[in-house]
Assembly symmetry: C2
Homo-oligomer: 484 residues x 2
């Protein structure tokens, strides 16, 4: 089966669109120690080339250049040599290159950048750099992008940055970030695919990614990995996240809902079913989702976050989507899963909801007031709509609650809001969180953004942060689907 | 005319022969900080590639490697970061590369190396480097190399290292050194071409180089530059060495003498003649060669060397060769140049020879006892053979004389010896000077070698020395032409 899936993934390899950016830059004669900053005018992902020529006298030695790519201006200013290693320093986009001959020089690697800084490390003679060219690549076809018909200028701007974020993460796969990690994650895929449906609508790319996960190696509990690699060859990841595995199913359901492509859904069905069965086996004796040994759960990056209720919510949410699709296509398994949903819902209400506190707990003796638990219970259908609105407002405004941390979790807060028809709240939430990044000059939305602490890094050093991260692209989804 | 010459040079672009070296190297799992040394088993010039793979777990970040190429082991041991800049540091063969994906990695630049050292600068996971491959390139065709039939094992070894030196300098042009400078020099060309005739006998390469100089821009005194570049496009050098310009003529004569190719000689004739005329114009009122303003003279790298007599000797030497060729081809200019030779010879004897001292001086009030003056006077035909032998022995043994410094000048000492039928002295001289480098482990002969001071560098730091330099290759010429 795996080989068939890989073959299908290969067949759906998207076409890469190219667009050449010719930035303006002063081209004065440069000597050792001189530097030049090139501004591409926007954030792009692609390949950089330039021309090197001599001035008056031929350069009779290789020219050694330091070249640094910055997703934003701050990155150019930061001193990479002072980087404190959390994640591997090789993600920092810097090169030392030696050029033997004058003429065009094409740098072979792909970079994510708005700014490029070049410094002459060594050259015996004066030289001139010119003809700067950045071949931007993406599997997003800009010709297919529909205009965003929204009068709210702020949301329009947010939409354009969100679209740019998605575009720059769309390559051979939906990458999480084009500067760093460049991997396909189940959880990220779902958000990218959803936004893609309302923007570039590249369906083969979605299919490719679904097939890649279908081809992956499940662990001994039956879960697919949270991520895979596919370049230069397919490699199955080694981290098994239960919520992410469920969201793979959700992604397949979204794909069917968007396309009505029963054939692909049916082809994926064995992989989908195996995830639902693995989840079913992971239910505790109390009927609540647990995280089996050798597995993990993501939900969000909050330190100390209790995740049981959120995970159970992801299970409910996925079952709901799944049952709905099975019903649409008239699948015989529909009733089995509908029954499982009802049972899981019953347990959620009876075990995870504390009447006294009027809030969700993680178990009878583990109460943590978190946005996460409530949001996922809302999305899972475990909260009555009229109660949910007030509860959501309360948990978001409470000084004591655990708040969402990643744009990924912020997405599900907004999704809960729109599911409760709280569109004005959703808009305000988006403007507040994503709009804030724009006020900092963002051309693309960040992997992580902590309001009031723009230098925050979950990896010890902000230099390694990804400033264009696909899980942050979903404002375009909400704006185009709900606010239009 | 220039364009015709460049066209001819292009037509004579030699075929590049490739030979793949597969060095053995342990391929253990490596982590950040680990290094590996690869020994190619000999000195080669070419392109390096290898395979990078992960161990157990996929490398989920680019791998940053430091790669250093050493012409010998000492270079690998030296710390390039401590290099004291004389010549541009970019000649040091080191790279920092970032590799995004496992698989084959081909380094794009050409290196001159016996040893390759690779260190893992950054990698989040363990990796394995393997399939080391060095694609050696040269325009020397080893299939055309005749065996060296000499019983003396020491000379045989010297021959093989000399041949290796020449081979590794033969590319699109005769390069001076494949690690550093990589330029075509008139003076170096002559020695490379001579040795080439008795080894690989690549005639198109010689023609190409002669045409390139014929295409060069002469200065206001009419001299061609000491060097040219030709990659990616032809660039005429800006240093005008009178002795080197004369040796361009000598090279053209050598070519005719070796090949009998009158057509090429005649095509080159305008360029040849213009050099002889420029030299004629450079004669002082006393009839002795001078160095016109804007020009320079090489002879050797000895500090404080008086060069007038040597330069005049180069003029005589070239005229002698030139007249001989003109006579052979029955050229009408023969008598003009024969007359000039006689006049220049007369001046040499009457003005530059001091009867009292029984030695050559540089002018009536400038006496410097040097090997250089005598050697070039011998080669110019200004010393009687019976006297020359004793004089040469004396100047070489005198504690007060200025001695040859570069292998280039040592060549002309040996040439003077063989011209005087002092073959045993010549053999001993070669064994002493070039043999010494072999005892230091040389796979190729050095650009500069000072017996007793193997660390000496004319550029302040030995790291930048070229350990394979074509002007050191001539023992193979002497061994094969005279000692066989």
């Amino acid at each position: 089966m795996e080989n068939l899936y890989l073959k299908k993934a290969e067949q759906n390899l998207p076409e890469i669109k190219e667009k050449v950016i010719k930035p303006y830059a002063m081209t004065n004669a440069m000597s050792k120690g001189d530097g030049i900053l090139i501004d591409l005018g926007n954030h792009y992902v692609g390949y950089f080339s330039f021309n090197l020529d001599y001035v008056d006298v031929y350069i009779d030695a290789p020219v050694r250049l330091y070249v640094k790519f910055g997703e934003n201006a701050r990155e150019i200013g930061d001193d990479f040599s002072a980087y404190e290693e959390g994640l591997c320093m090789s993600w920092l986009q810097e090169e030392i290159i030696n050029i033997d001959f004058p003429g065009e020089y094409k740098m072979p690697r792909r970079y994510a950048a708005r700014y490029i800084y070049i410094k002459v490390v060594a050259s015996p003679k004066k030289l001139v750099l010119s003809d700067f060219s950045f071949k931007a690549v993406s599997s997003a076809d800009e010709d297919r992008l529909r205009a965003c018909d929204i009068s709210d200028e702020e949301l329009k701007k947010i939409d354009s940055v969100a679209v740019n974020t998605l575009k720059n993460c769309m390559h051979r796969i939906f990458e999480d970030g084009p500067k760093r990690d460049r991997r396909l994650w189940t959880g990220d895929l779902r958000l990218e695919a959803l936004t893609n449906y309302y923007t570039f609508n590249n369906l083969s790319l979605v299919r490719r990614c679904l097939y890649l996960f279908a081809a992956s190696d499940t662990n001994d509990k039956g879960f697919i990995p949270g991520f895979v690699y596919e370049n230069p060859k397919f490699v199955s990841g080694n981290w098994f996240l239960v919520d992410y595995a469920l969201l793979f199913v959700a992604s397949a359901c979204d794909y069917y809902n968007h396309t009505g492509d029963k054939e692909t859904f049916n082809e994926l069905y064995p992989a989908i079913e195996s995830q639902m069965e693995a989840a079913h086996r992971a239910l505790g004796t109390d009927g609540i989702m647990s995280v089996p040994k050798g597995c993990d759960v993501f939900i969000d990056w909050c330190r100390g976050l209790e995740k049981t209720t959120s995970l159970h919510g992801v299970y409910l949410y996925t079952l709901k989507l799944f049952v709905n699709v099975l019903e649409n296509i008239g699948h015989g398994d529909r009733d089995v899963y509908a029954e499982r949903y009802n049972a899981a819902l019953e347990c959620a209400v009876s075990i995870l909801y504390n009447e006294e506190k009027k809030a969700f707990v993680n178990s009878s003796d583990n109460y943590q007031y978190s946005v996460h638990s409530l949001v996922w219970m809302i999305l899972g259908g475990a909260v009555r709509e009229d109660e949910a609105r007030a509860m959501l407002a309360d948990v978001l405004n409470s000084p004591d609650s655990v708040k969402p941390f990643t744009p990924y979790m912020h997405h599900y807060v907004v999704e809960a809001m729109v599911s409760l028809s709280m569109n004005e709240n959703a808009k305000a939430y988006i403007k507040n969180y994503w709009g804030d990044m724009i006020s900092l000059g963002a051309d693309t939305f960040y992997e992580v953004y902590v309001p009031g602490d723009p230098d925050f890094s979950p990896y010890k050093d902000r230099m390694i942060n990804s400033m264009c991260h696909a899980w942050s692209c979903t404002p375009a989804y909400f704006i185009r689907k709900y606010f239009n």
